[in-house]
């Protein structure tokens, strides 16, 4: 086991993207390595301008819940996803984009925030990341 956390980001929901980035940044801050594998709905959040475009996993209420949560987050001074992903990269976090999802969803590399992505891969890349990770999660 190495001191590594790896998270499959399958959901594109705003709250789950927050969870993934907060846990991953926490792991880096506490001296672990961290990697995020973006697939399915999660992958769409890597599209240009797409990071904070997800709805809520619960009580989205056609976007009303999302507005309310964003308002509450602002009031509580919660960092933006843009800032969290920038910090994640600055602390050496790794981002992998799922190529099969790109194919299924018709997403091209130029549609994605390529500067954030370290690697494009499939399940083998994820397993390589996860096989010696002490923490593996899926959101």
């Amino acid at each position: 086991m190495s001191d590594k956390a790896t998270i499959i980001v399958h959901s594109g929901d705003l709250d789950k993207i927050y969870s993934a980035l907060i846990v991953a940044n926490g792991a880096l801050a506490m001296g672990m390595e961290a990697s995020l594998y973006f697939t399915f709905w999660g992958l769409l959040r890597l599209k240009k301008g797409g990071l904070d475009q997800g709805g809520l996993s619960k009580m989205n209420m056609l976007g009303l819940g999302r507005l309310m949560i964003r308002h509450r987050m602002k009031k509580a001074n919660v960092a933006s996803l843009e800032r969290l992903i920038r910090d994640f990269k600055e602390l050496g976090g790794k981002i992998i984009a799922c190529e099969m999802t790109m194919e299924i969803m018709g997403v091209k590399r130029q549609d994605l925030n390529e500067s954030l992505i370290d690697d494009y891969g499939a399940v083998g890349s994820y397993i390589q990341e996860a096989r010696d990770a002490a923490i593996t999660l899926l959101v």
Binding site: L28, A29, M30, G31, A79, L84, D87
Partner: protein, 73 residues
């Protein structure tokens, strides 16, 4: 030897931890990092992170809502 100040007053999870980690990454051996903040959980967790990174905690104090932690790389 430099002394770096990290002011995370008013910031919430995970910003205090992340900002301390960024400062540690930039610091040279012997440098001192002084962190001031107000987020209660971070007061416990910054020393945990320092411990995990084998960084010395020089002091750790609380005044009202504000806490101050001094680390040495």
């Amino acid at each position: 030897m430099a002394e770096v100040k990290v002011d995370v007053r008013g910031e919430t999870c995970p910003v205090p931890l992340v900002e301390v980690r960024k400062a540690i990454k930039k610091a040279a051996p012997g440098d001192i990092i002084e962190v001031i903040g107000t987020h209660p959980a971070s007061k416990k967790e910054i020393p945990m992170a320092a411990h995990a990174l084998s960084i010395k905690i020089l002091s750790d104090e609380q005044t009202g809502e504000e806490w101050k932690i001094r680390l040495q790389i």
